[in-house]
Symmetry: C2
Subunit: 337 residues, 2 copies
DNA sequence: GACACAATTGACAGCGCTGTCAATTCGCAG
DNA sequence: CTGCGAATTGACAGCGCTGTCAATTGTGTC
């Protein structure tokens, strides 16, 4: 009926244990044997039964991707990361599961425990903002569950993938400066998210670099949502000295800013330039198309997962890989008039 | 170390097999025994090891959600369905895996086979448009893998969830008619998708109902993407007798239509009304906010998965559940001027 | 060519659970 | 109170694989 490891062994003329070694890519098998076994596996279309492997070997071949569905419900950003993680897991024949983990409430560590106890993932991929919850990271380390992060705030003791968001934000603001803008506002994200901090820092760095003194009125707190972008922009546009450009910490808020501009009868980019961060699909579909920073989310998910898999497969420690970004200049930014 | 079924049995004073029966909710256990066992499980925080259960019981407790990442890359629609499926699986302690399955090429049946052989899902949730590939459904039936569909084209021999999309489309067009529109255009989706057919049929039904003869020029083929919406709208707006309203078969295309209107200097809704279908998050964020049909995607994913789980848990056949829709009238539709 | 040592291979038990089927207990008619 | 069928419970093997450790084969040295 089903082809078992034993059947492959018989065909290859070796013991089951040797087939197991080949299957798991272990050392101490001669090339000749390895090839014979591999050939037998292929000829018989052998598919190892993962439940048996898990039971006997005490590992699950499972990678869990954790995300916070509290702050970002069903975003394309996460969908893209998931896609990348899945691809990486596939290439190494690992399974992937996705787990929402609400960070609200103080029982998230308990819920993390439940996920680990119920599913026994061999490793975990963390996505923002749960890359930075100290109690959660602590628990993962206590339980010896390897993990990799996408865009973690801390660069030490972390493997996964990161992007120089501060430099990217600075580049964006320098683009505005080079167009001639001086009154540049910033709509920041949720305060304790790494993304917010870096993007704000990049904004400040660029402004300071141009010799401009920060006007506190021009930095408004948002929450990464469209609605918060609208609210922030209303506040900015009501100022006596209106900004000529607004840099929002993500594209959702930038669309909100554009919406508010429309509402107030301000033309983008003639009356006010607007730019964002992330390059979500919507960005290029807005009217006018949004100038933003392109972040290769899918690739980042893949790279983070690959670093985790390095560790799981005992190939070493894994790195925190730096990803490149690019400035996508579109139609929402122009010289001030 | 780890609490095993045997440990629970000892504590409850029964045999392991009896604990197993309770765990699997089997018949022929007295209430007294069942309660004693349940209490022991809780007291010991017993977590059954799914790999052992799978190996011994020859089932995986795994539900695979298949999607076609060819036609819809990383859409929020799928993310929402996934969320619902996950929730349903969680409540019955099933695992969920997501699998992209490109429908391009003719080897997708082979790739389906690989998924089944490699992961042994107990059941499968199908999402549009792969709810309707006959060879795929045939293979699933041959291999006796139960499946449930989200919005399948055929209502016979299918369990899962559906919505009366034709009625919804008709309702949308009737809304336009009631505003006084007569030259109403339709941008349809990919021809062989059920969604396209129903929405087009609903459009026709409403138009015929109003005694209008269809003008073939007013029905343009799109492909569910923003870009295809733009292209279709350019064609429509170039007509000598421009439509006063455009009903796009989904929101992505509707945004494209709005974009093209902008491009041509047409004001929405003053010069042309635009409406879509799906109510993606973007819809309410557009300027003006898009009139559309709200489809409860998350809930639909959940319901489809629950129907599948009914079958998997031997509770009966499962239904094809009808979901309600709602017409969301926003700012992109108005009386023709 | 013999020896020590390393590399390769295999025998066997057992991972934690469930299927099968036999043993026991229960409920009830007579 | 006995006997009989049905309901409940348990004994035991085994699912397909890997860990442990012993047996075997190969390699280099003097």
């Amino acid at each position: 009926m089903r082809v078992r490891l034993e059947d492959v062994a018989r065909r290859a003329g070796v013991s089951p244990k040797t087939v197991s070694r080949v299957l798991n890519d272990e050392a101490n098998v001669t090339d000749a044997t390895r090839q014979r076994v591999t050939a037998a596996m292929e000829a018989m279309d052998y598919r190892p039964l993962s439940s048996a492997r898990s039971l006997a070997g005490n590992r699950s071949f499972l990678v869990a991707m954790l995300y916070d569905n509290n702050d970002n419900p069903a975003s394309t950003y996460l969908a893209e990361i998931q896609d990348g993680v899945l691809e990486a897991c596939d290439t190494h024949r690992y399974n992937m599961m996705v787990r929402p983990l609400r960070m609200r409430g103080d029982d998230f560590v308990r819920r993390l425990d439940a996920v680990i106890s119920d599913h026994h993932p061999d490793g975990i991929v963390l996505t923002p903002p749960i890359t930075d919850y100290a109690p959660l990271l602590k628990r993962l380390r206590e339980r010896h569950v390897p993990f990799a992060s996408v865009s973690p705030m801390s660069r030490v003791d972390n493997i996964g993938v990161a992007m120089d968001e501060q430099l990217a934000a600075r580049t964006m603001v320098e683009h505005l400066l080079s167009l001639g803008h001086r009154r540049i506002a910033h709509v920041s994200g949720i305060a304790d998210h790494g993304a917010s901090r870096w993007r704000l820092a990049g904004y400040r760095e660029a402004m300071a670099g141009a010799g401009l003194v920060e006007d506190p009125k021009l930095v408004v707190q948002g929450a990464f949502t469209f609605a918060s972008g609208v609210a922030a922009a209303r506040q900015l546009f009501a100022l006596k000295k209106r900004p000529t450009a607004v840099f929002a910490a993500n594209d959702d808020m930038a669309s909100g800013v554009m919406w508010a501009a429309n509402e107030r009868g301000l033309k983008v980019p003639q009356d006010v330039s607007v730019c964002g961060f992330d390059d979500i699909p919507l960005a290029s579909q807005l009217w006018p198309a949004l100038t933003t920073i392109r972040q290769p989310s899918r690739e980042m998910g893949k790279v983070a997962a690959l670093q985790l898999l390095e560790v799981l497969r005992g190939r070493g420690g894994g790195q925190l890989v730096q990803m490149p970004f690019s400035l996508e200049i579109r139609d929402s930014t122009a010289r001030p008039s």
